[in-house]
Symmetry: C2
């Protein structure tokens, strides 16, 4: 039982590594699940015993990078800076760790992290989003006065929207070292942080549907 359990993990690792290599090399669309199986020395259908599908595989890779990035963020101590700077660092460090996956990030994010997908239940993409949002919520609470109302679900949706927008921009950013992304990130975060204190004026719901 010991040997086998380890072998399972090893196979899982082998699949992840094969996928990572191929995705980086030939992109997400350019890599077939058969390619991955071959590279990982398993049968065509076996990877589906380890991951629900190709996209989840890619997401798992992204997830690992972001987990590492989070560790680095915590280590850096930059969560102690101003809210805006802490959020900036959180995202920027994430981007740095996502660099190797920039080429195919779009394919993953657009179909898996998109807010349109909100909800096949407790799968891996949920985890990633929820974890990120909990971190952000924690930072907000840490940096605002206790009187400030907890950010609403709508507000957090807004944050996630902005975050995906930044990721999207970054994935396509042709400026050297993706500097332009930092401008966008700065602008987006200033918007967001600014909105936290603004008291929400009531919206009349008699408008258009």
């Amino acid at each position: 039982m010991r040997i086998t359990a380890e072998a399972k993990l090893e196979t899982r690792q082998r699949i992840l590594e094969a996928a990572r290599k191929l995705f980086c090399d030939k992109g997400f669309a350019g890599t077939t699940t058969r390619d991955i199986a071959t590279e990982a020395s398993i049968a065509t259908g076996t990877m589906f015993n380890y991951f629900p599908g190709k996209e989840h595989l890619a997401l798992a890779i992204i997830d690992i990078s972001l987990e590492t990035a989070y560790g680095e963020f915590v280590e850096s101590g930059r969560e102690g800076e101003s809210l805006e700077e802490a959020l900036f660092a959180h995202i920027a460090i994430g981007l740095r760790h996502l660099r190797p996956h920039r080429g195919y990030l779009g394919d993953v994010v657009e179909t898996t992290l998109s807010p349109f997908n909100l909800s096949t239940g407790a799968d891996e993409s949920e985890n990633l989003r929820v974890r990120h949002l909990e971190t952000v919520q924690g930072l907000i609470e840490k940096h605002t006065s206790p009187s400030t109302p907890r950010p609403s679900a709508v507000t957090m949706h807004l944050y996630w929207t902005l975050y995906l927008g930044v990721l999207a921009f970054w994935a396509k950013d042709a400026s050297p070292n993706q500097e332009d992304t930092l401008v966008l990130l700065d602008q987006a975060l200033r918007l967001f942080v600014g909105s936290l204190n603004a008291n929400p004026k009531t919206v009349e719901i008699s408008h258009d549907p």
Copy 2:
């Protein structure tokens, strides 16, 4: 030649109508291109002579609705209201026209309108986004003082991001009549409009990459 050219258009219409019906009925993923072909009384491959792919077909349907919506917006005279209200009306009227397609809007938007896709060139999705952004830019220019700087590409990206976020929220909004979406829309637009006047502080690009 006359009769045939009309027949072409008629076939195109038949495909669009078949797709619209099936998408509304069984969703985007639940409808196969073969279903559409059958419903439209054409061969399996024929629809690919009229549309580059299944998604473009869905996008064309969305596009028609939004074109109609734009007409109604212009008629309504609400572009004369405050910038925030004009933008609100522009989007809200769009949502009203997209209602029949709410069930499958996500599948289309996420893969076709997502900012990740920025650029297979001048295809239909480009058109939709560009048209929408031009309208918005027009509204901004109309409502701000000539001294206000033209919104940058980054700013417009931010707008598009927020717009997609609203669409995503709306597509899943379970509140009666999707009222919650209007709250989000209001919040998002207040953010955006507010940002137009704020002078962008320079961002030091020495930060993380």
